[in-house]
């Protein structure tokens, strides 16, 4: 009987794992199957052609702009905020409130952030529909993610490291820079990767703040179209699933490249030779 139960449980676990991986493979497979035919150099690096929707280089550039700008702003602020909450702040009602607020922020639908960005960054700050307005909006979206994941990884640093370092006559800042942050690097990095995913996958908020201009942005103050927005528009306006799938392939490749380079950089930073 116990053996039977064991087998049933094992079967369930196996089935769940299979379903998860299966769905992922199915989606990726479908996208590749549908879109692969369209992928060629002209499609990726050529100028945008309104007739067939190809030539997505401007959208790739815009997407990379939003990722880089949002992360450059969100990462340092997020890490500093997490360090304050976890290492410096007196654990009391204020910190609890801030934590509750950041947690709630992660659950808000992105269209709300988009509306806020459209009102605040685009109109009030007079940035106009632009890459910078979209990036600032995205910064707000990913900030809670960076803060939460950094906090969690700071929590996993053993208290004995802190004691060991302080007992050697170091200041709190030295302990933080030399021991605590390096050992929580992997967790911080996974937060950054998660954030990249959110930025690349975002469309509603960008649609409302960067607009849909399908041309190479002259600067970060230009209105432009990211890959996801482009994908949405071609499906919505032209009903071209194949084109949308081809854009999906490019998105997946960009995400993979970014993830690998983030891991690579963090290994360099933490001196991964041991």
């Amino acid at each position: 009987m116990r053996k039977f139960k064991d087998n049933v449980l094992r079967g369930l676990l196996w089935f769940s794992a299979f379903v998860t991986v299966g769905i992922l493979l199915l989606i990726v497979g479908f996208i590749f199957y549908k879109g692969f035919r369209l992928i060629n150099l002209e499609f990726i690096f050529g100028d945008y052609s309104p007739t067939d929707g190809g030539g997505i280089w401007p959208m790739i550039v815009t997407t990379v702009y939003t990722i880089v700008i949002s992360l450059v702003i969100a990462t340092p602020i997020g890490i500093l905020a997490a360090v304050y909450l976890q290492e410096y702040a007196k654990q009391g009602r204020l910190v609890k409130t801030i934590r509750f607020a950041t947690e709630s922020l992660t659950g808000i639908p992105s269209i709300i952030y988009g509306l806020f960005g459209a009102v605040f960054f685009v109109t009030t700050l007079k940035l106009g529909m632009s890459i910078i307005a979209a990036s600032l909006t995205l910064t707000i979206i990913v900030l809670p993610v960076v803060i939460r994941t950094t906090e969690e990884s700071l929590k996993t640093v053993p208290q004995t490291y802190r004691e060991g370092s302080l007992a050697l006559g170091t200041t709190k800042l030295q302990t933080l820079m030399k021991v605590i942050l390096p050992s929580s690097m992997p967790g911080i990095l996974s937060g950054i990767i998660l954030s990249m995913g959110r930025i690349v996958g975002e469309s509603a908020a960008i649609f409302l703040t960067a607009g849909t201009v399908a041309a190479m942005p002259a600067s970060i103050f230009s209105s432009a179209r990211t890959l996801t927005v482009h994908s949405y528009l071609v499906t919505q306006e032209a009903g071209d699933i194949e084109l949308a799938a081809a854009i999906g392939i490019v998105l997946i490749v960009i995400i993979l490249i970014l993830n690998f380079s983030a891991t690579f950089i963090s290994k360099k930073l933490t001196k991964a030779d041991y």
Binding site: Y161, R162, E163, L166, A167, L168, G169, T170, S183, Y274
Partner: protein
């Protein structure tokens, strides 16, 4: 005759004045409302090993951690009384950094950082601003030699310290502490996580180290206290019951409670 005795006493007192490194007067400590130490007074002699023994929760580790102000890290700790190290009240001065470079600490479990052996030992000196490579090399070698582990690690200084065995890690922890060139080394049950052979090595090391350092060691192992220490303080419920030359504490205790404890009747 009386005159002679008096002179002898004065001489003894002067001698103890000269050799005393740490003097603790009426030390009380509270965790919030809970009192953990009651009027502890104790004089620790220079270049001797002083053992603190007693059952779990008797305050011996708490007492040890007042000597380098590690209790400052805990919220809600309040301390009354004086602790003088080299005649300086360590709670009057605000320079905790200076205190901790002078009073090193080795913890219950090896707590090396996830870095190379070299970087672990050089960690403290680097934090003090020593950057010169030659100087650092010298400090690292001297410290590892001082902790009797140089021969075991000299070929792998650049590899991770966490790859060493527990006993080796603990000796590198000691090397890391002596790299700061402290006067005093505090040890909080340094062998409780080690096997008997590693324990023996650490005990041999303590016997070596006392030539240069004042050592205060907390241990729950009475044989260890008897083996390594010159003087022993017996703590019970936050008070010192007896403090004397180690031999006396173990073979000729004055207090009944000490006798009960060292003969294994409780604890």
């Amino acid at each position: 005759m009386i005159q002679e005795v008096k002179e002898e006493n004065v001489a003894l007192m002067k001698q103890s004045e000269r050799t005393s490194k740490i003097r603790v007067k009426d030390l009380s400590l509270f965790y919030g409302d809970k009192q953990a130490l009651y009027d502890v007074s104790l004089t620790i002699e220079e270049k001797k090993v002083t053992a603190l023994i007693g059952p779990s929760g008797c305050g011996k580790s708490t007492f040890l951690r007042t000597l380098n102000r590690m209790n400052d890290l805990i919220d809600g700790v309040k301390i009354n009384g004086d602790i003088l190290i080299d005649n300086e009240d360590i709670y009057k001065s605000n320079d905790v950094i200076k205190l901790r470079t002078k009073v090193g600490m080795v913890f219950q479990k090896p707590n090396l950082f996830p870095m190379s052996i070299y970087d672990n030992v050089a960690y403290g000196p680097r934090a003090q601003g020593i950057k010169n490579k030659k100087e650092l090399n010298k400090i690292v070698e001297e410290s590892l030699r001082g902790a009797a582990i140089w021969d075991e690690v000299k070929d792998r200084l650049k590899s991770s310290a966490l790859g060493l065995s527990g006993g080796q890690q603990q000796r590198v922890c000691i090397a890391r502490a002596i790299a700061m060139k402290p006067d005093v080394i505090l040890m909080d049950e340094p062998t409780s996580a080690l096997d008997p052979i590693s324990t023996l090595k650490v005990e041999e090391l303590i016997a070596q180290l006392k030539k240069e350092y004042t050592i205060v060691i907390v241990t729950h192992n009475m044989q260890q206290a008897a083996r390594v220490s010159d003087k022993t303080a017996f703590f019970l419920s936050g008070e010192i019951v007896e403090y004397d030359v180690t031999n006396n504490v173990f073979s000729n205790p004055k207090d009944q409670r000490t006798e009960d404890y060292v003969t294994g009747r409780f604890g």
